[in-house]
Every structure is written in C-alpha cells, then in structure tokens.
C-alpha cells in the first residue's frame, strides 16, 4: 500500500514539474536536429544514420534526467524514512524506476516517430524503432538507478554518473540500433530485440538489488 502511495506521489510530483518532464524531450529533439545541420541534409544519408542518431539522443536524454531520480528524496530526508520503512528497498527502487520510465522513457518512445520523420528514416524502420525503445528505455532506467544511487550524496555526482553508467548502456545501444538497422534493410529484427529482452531480464534481476544496496551505502554516511 505504501508503495502504491509512493508511486502516486512520485507521478504527481513529476507531472507538476512540467519543466523537468519536458527538458529531456526538448534535448532529444535538439540533438536530433543538430545532425542534419552538422553532417548533411541529404535524406538518403540521413535515413541511413537515423537509427543511430535517435538511439544516441535517447540515451543522452535519459542520462540527463537520471541524476534527479533520488536527489529530491535525498535532500529532504525522505529517503532515510523509506530505508527504515518495512517495505524492501528493492521495491522502492523499482517504483522509482517505473516512475522514471513513465516520465522519461515512454515520452521518448512516443516522440521517436517524429524524429524518424525528420531524419527521413525509411518506413520499415519505424516498428523496430518503437519496439526497441519500448524494451530499451526501461533498461536505461534500471541501470541508471544504480549510478544515481551511487552518486546521490556527491557534489560532483552529475559529472560522475555518465562515466559509471555509459559502459553498461553500450550493449543496449548496440542491440537496439542494430535492430532498427535490420528493419531498415528489410531483414528480420526479432533476434536483436530478443537480445535486448534478455538484457532487460538480466538488469531487472541485478539492478534493483545493486541500486538498493548502493542507496544504503550513500545514506549511511
């Protein structure tokens, strides 16, 4: 019950803070529009590199919002109350991850077709793009929770986060972008998505435990 209350509260906070909700999306849009300006406006070439651009953009946008996952609760002391509450810390982390996915991953997924159009992604690439984002962004939230939990008490946490978490994100990027690439070329893309699904299952097992432990370390000082 308390977890449900937490979920409701966090979602409410997220939707009241419109700025925090929209900033990653604006960032996503801007990063994607930098490429036609910097590389080439040629639709043929843009279509070829679109899967990579969209996925790198999604990854950086997620990273941008990740820093805030535990920050507010850490600063007002709510996190200590949650750590001593009877419900397991792991479930608390899962709630946080779920909220982050709803306010960051899901909007990015819904916005991706727009970027696909802007970057003239071939039509056959849209389905794998959406699917890979739908499976991939929860992984980003899960693994990011570990980094956010490790750095929540640090002043320079914002700089450290990408260094800790990006290596773990790279497999997601590889499998996701290659599934879109396969879709664009008209090849079957289910295999790549299956790899992504396996990575999701693995991080679903590892990340809440590791992040819960990391939170205890960060708060114990």
């Amino acid at each position: 019950m308390s977890l449900y209350a937490l979920l409701k509260r966090d979602l409410l906070i997220a939707f009241r803070n419109r700025g925090e909700l929209f900033n990653p999306l604006m960032f996503f849009l801007m990063v994607a529009s930098l490429f036609p300006l910097a590389v080439t406006p040629d639709p043929q070439f843009l279509g070829e590199i679109a899967p990579g651009i969209i996925w790198v953009g999604a990854l950086l946008a997620t990273l941008l919002s990740m820093d805030l996952m535990f920050k507010g609760d850490y600063e007002d002391g709510a996190i200590e109350q949650l750590l001593v509450s009877p419900s397991p810390t792991m479930l608390f982390v899962l709630v946080k991850v779920l909220v982050h996915f709803v306010v960051a991953g899901l909007p990015l997924t819904l916005m991706a077709p727009l970027l696909g159009l802007m970057l003239s992604l071939p039509e056959s690439g849209f389905a794998p793009l959406m699917l890979s984002l739908l499976i991939g962004t929860p992984i980003l939230s899960l693994l990011g929770a570990i980094g956010a939990a490790l750095t929540v008490g640090l002043k320079k946490g914002g700089m450290l986060m990408p260094l800790l978490i990006l290596p773990l994100y790279i497999p997601v990027l590889i499998f996701a972008a290659s599934s879109v690439q396969a879709g664009v070329q008209g090849d079957p893309y289910i295999g790549h998505l299956a790899f992504l699904g396996a990575y999701l299952a693995m991080s679903l097992v590892v990340a809440p435990v590791a992040a819960a432990f990391a939170l205890r370390i960060s708060v114990s000082r």
């Binding site: 570990i146 490790l150 640090l154 450290l160 260094l163 290596p167 773990l168 960060s218």
Partner: protein
C-alpha cells in the same frame, strides 16, 4: 582441512599477516616471472617458427594475449574481492580490490595498444569497430568508472563499498567480451587457446606463450602485493607494528 581454510581466511583478514607474508612471497613471484618472461620472450620472438599465414607479425601475441587475458581476469578478481568485502565485511579484500583497479586498466590499455600494432599489418588498419575490440574498450571504461568512484568519494568506507558494487555490476560485460568472437562473426580471430581443448597452435609456438602468460600473472601478483602493502602501511600508520616495521619507534 576445513580448519586450515578457516585459519587461512582469518589470517588473510589481518593486514599485519598479509604484509609479512606478501613480503616473503614477492621475491619468489618476481623471479619466477622474470625467468619465465625472459625465456618465453626470447623463445617466442627469436626461435619460434613464423606463422604460415601472418609471418612474423604474429609474434606480438606473446604480449597481446597475456595482457588481454590478464585485464579480464583482473576485473573478475576485483569484483570477487569486492563481493567478499561486502558479504564478509573484510577490510583487506577492499584494499586488494583497490590495488587491482589501475593495474587492470593498464593491462587493458596494453592489450588495446598491442592489438592495434598487430592489426595494422594483418588487417591494414589500427582500429576497427569489431565486437571484440569494442567490448575490450568498454572494459577499459568500466575500469575508469571504478577508479573514478574511488577518487570522487572521500569517505574511505563508502568509497570501498560503492566501488565494489560498481565492479560487481560491471562483470555483466565479461561474458560479452569472452564470447563476442563466437557470437558475432567479425574481424577478430577466435580465441587461440582454451583451457578445455588441446591447443591448436604448434607446441613450439604455444609453450613460450604459456610461459609469458604465467609470467604476466606472477608479475601482476608482485604488483598487487606492492600496492596493497603500501595501502596497508598508510591505513595502519598509527599502529605499533607499522612503526616498529619501519623503524620509527624503538
């Protein structure tokens, strides 16, 4: 038997015992490593036959394979040390983990460098975004992350635990590196030697390679011992035995 293991475990937890025993072992590891390294290198570089396909350029294998192997197993050792520290609250194991991190990173750099030097004559390029090379680069990034977290957190206890969590999570990447050559059919050749199968190399090429591999592990041990001993002295600087060992008090 069980008693002996328990006794060893408790001894390993004692900085003083570790300091003294590693002082005793270090010269042995050093000299065994030195002999194996010089025999292996001279044999491999000067006397082993040239490869039928790659000619003389394959000879860098005597540095490349040991460093690549060691950078991966050093990461696993670091993660295991972190796990032992987190589960059994053993301070010594955190110190060993901290000692391993920069050495492992150095080995990853060496593997990437020698790989680039090997790649130039065989593939005609210094670097390709091949699965094995890329995952090796990620391993280096993981080492950077662990080192960075040690530097970022001032509280010693917290830094130890945070780095341990991160290194354990990072082990996900190790099987990806290990099997990258088999899963993705890319430029990098499959593993030359495995523990379970008979080596496919000619023995006069394989034996010197085995020698340099063992030598790398021996020197790695010496290096980890030295860094660990330094850290022990620093952390225990106020104790009587350290002051006596260093001759600071009578």
């Amino acid at each position: 038997m069980w008693q002996a293991i328990k006794r060893l475990y408790h001894k390993l937890g004692s900085p003083k015992w570790f300091y003294q025993i590693s002082e005793l072992w270090s010269p042995w590891f050093f000299w065994v490593g030195a002999i194996l390294m010089s025999v292996g290198l001279v044999w491999g570089l000067a006397f082993a036959p040239a490869d039928y396909l790659q000619g003389n350029s394959f000879r860098i294998i005597y540095i490349h394979v040991p460093s690549a192997l060691l950078s991966q197993s050093a990461y696993i050792m670091m993660a295991v040390a972190g796990l032992v520290g987190l589960v059994w609250k053993m301070k010594m194991s955190f110190i060993v983990g901290k000692a391993i991190a920069p050495i492992g990173a150095g080995m990853a750099v060496l593997a990437l460098l020698t790989g680039a030097i090997w790649g130039k004559p065989t593939w005609g390029t210094w670097w390709v975004w091949d699965a094995r090379l890329t995952s090796m680069l990620i391993l280096l990034f993981l080492y950077f992350g662990v080192i960075a977290i040690y530097n970022a957190i001032e509280n010693e206890d917290m830094a130890n635990k945070a780095a341990a969590v991160l290194s354990i999570v990072g082990t996900i990447n190790i099987p990806i590196i290990k099997y990258s050559v088999e899963w993705w059919n890319t430029l990098h050749q499959p593993a030359t030697i495995t523990l379970t199968k008979k080596p496919t190399m000619a023995p006069e090429m394989f034996i010197p390679l085995a020698m340099t591999i063992i030598a790398f592990y021996c020197w790695f041990a010496v290096w980890v011992f030295a860094r660990t001993r330094n850290e022990i002295l620093w952390r225990e600087r106020r104790t009587k035995w350290v002051r006596q060992t260093l001759g600071l008090s009578e």
